[in-house]
Symmetry: C2
Subunit: 220 residues, 2 copies
DNA sequence: ATATATTTTTAGGTTAGTCTAAATTTTTTA
DNA sequence: TAAAAAATTTAGACTAACCTAAAAATATAT
């Protein structure tokens, strides 16, 4: 039994909203993320529950079943592999690939994904630093920290982003903040928590709290 | 206004059934090719006509409008480019790519197609020898002949196939008949029109009329 | 040229995924 | 802890793409 484009999207979104602790996801949160109305979400939840893909009790929110988790991770694997393809092979920017990958992720062929993975030489991370599940469905989230957790004087490596919005990514491009960049916290402004950060030992620039909250880094 | 997956398929099929002379296509022929019932075809034809994609008068069959032709050729371009990708980059056999390309051809992004075309270095033909329309929508069918039209003693170049069925393509693989192979007609059997053909100056084998009818060749 | 066969269309119905409006349940607040 | 607010579900409807069965148009054959 195949899952539809729409079903796959629900599972993927439930996975993402659920977080690594597998917390319950609310109908309204899903309505927001799927850009549909709560009533439509309820309909779909009944259907997904019937198929054994989610645990659903009325008014209680949902979590993925093991089966649902498996399906979600497969979709995420495809999405991230296609993003690597688009950036590495076709020359797209990391700010341009989300919507296209959103379509490609639903192409149904196991062998296609595996061959793509081989062609790309088994990438571990997508262009935004998100980990790519392996072919067995193992997805290990690296424990990166948010830049706001770093102290003055610390040097960290830029490893990923939480916000994938094109405008945010373009802003990073203009600031020279790319994956792998070395960020040294020079100063944190008490008042608004904005930071002065030196990029790759070069220019120093101001980063707002809004931006800091969306940068995933690693101590080096 | 975007066209749906289904609409695109109808246009592509009408294009192919219509041939280069743009002949009228019947409802039943479409029902057969789309694997639906004639009544469903009628519904869709009314819709496509309303959108200005086909010329349709009840009971008279359909042809593509200029707009419909444009859309169809775009889909064909995508299909064939993806097939090249699957064979050249991912290592699929020419017998394995049709169904996957059937899905990929509906991914809606102009820029994706153009970047794919660049990545593949502007291929002129797909893995079955079918010509790939250029980005402006020009599709020039090369005037290949069918192998049945070749005479005893002729040497011809294998340029394409009419039948894309995996079983047919696999049969050609086993016979060593690939695109670009040199075929020399040694003998044609009067009775059943089967032929003895020497492949690349090497082994000679028998080819049934059924097979000959589906091989596109060029005098050399 | 009329009767028969074939093709095509119409009529009415189904499913997936969506919607709005109303009803119900849960949560929050006074 | 009862009333108000918020979240969720139910009821009833819509559209796209399909279906079957029946009617109508066209083509074929005597």
């Amino acid at each position: 039994m195949q899952n539809s484009f729409t079903e796959e999207n629900y599972l993927k979104i439930i996975h993402s909203l659920s977080g690594r602790d597998g917390a319950e996801v609310s109908t309204n949160a899903l309505a927001e993320s799927t850009a549909t109305r709560a009533a439509s979400v309820t309909d779909m939840l009944r259907k997904l529950a019937e198929k054994g893909l989610i645990n659903y009790k009325k008014y209680q929110g949902v979590t993925l079943t093991e089966l649902g988790e498996k399906v979600a991770i497969k979709v995420i694997r495809k999405h991230r592999l296609w993003e690597v393809f688009l950036v590495e092979k076709l020359g797209f920017g990391w700010d341009e690939v989300h919507d296209i990958a959103e379509e490609l992720e639903h192409i149904p062929s196991e062998i296609l994904v595996e061959r793509l993975d081989i062609f790309l030489e088994h990438p571990r991370f997508d262009p935004h630093g998100d980990p790519i599940p392996d072919s067995k469905g193992n997805l290990t989230e690296p424990d990166y920290r948010i830049l706001t957790d770093a102290q003055v004087g610390e040097k960290v490596l830029m490893m990923g982003v939480l916000d994938h919005a094109p405008s945010f990514l373009q802003h990073l491009d203009r600031s020279g903040i790319t994956l792998g960049a070395v960020l040294e916290i020079k100063e944190i402004n008490e008042y608004d928590k904005s930071a002065s950060v030196q990029i790759n030992g070069g220019p120093t620039l101001f980063i707002s709290l809004e931006v800091s909250k969306n940068l995933l880094v690693q101590r080096r």
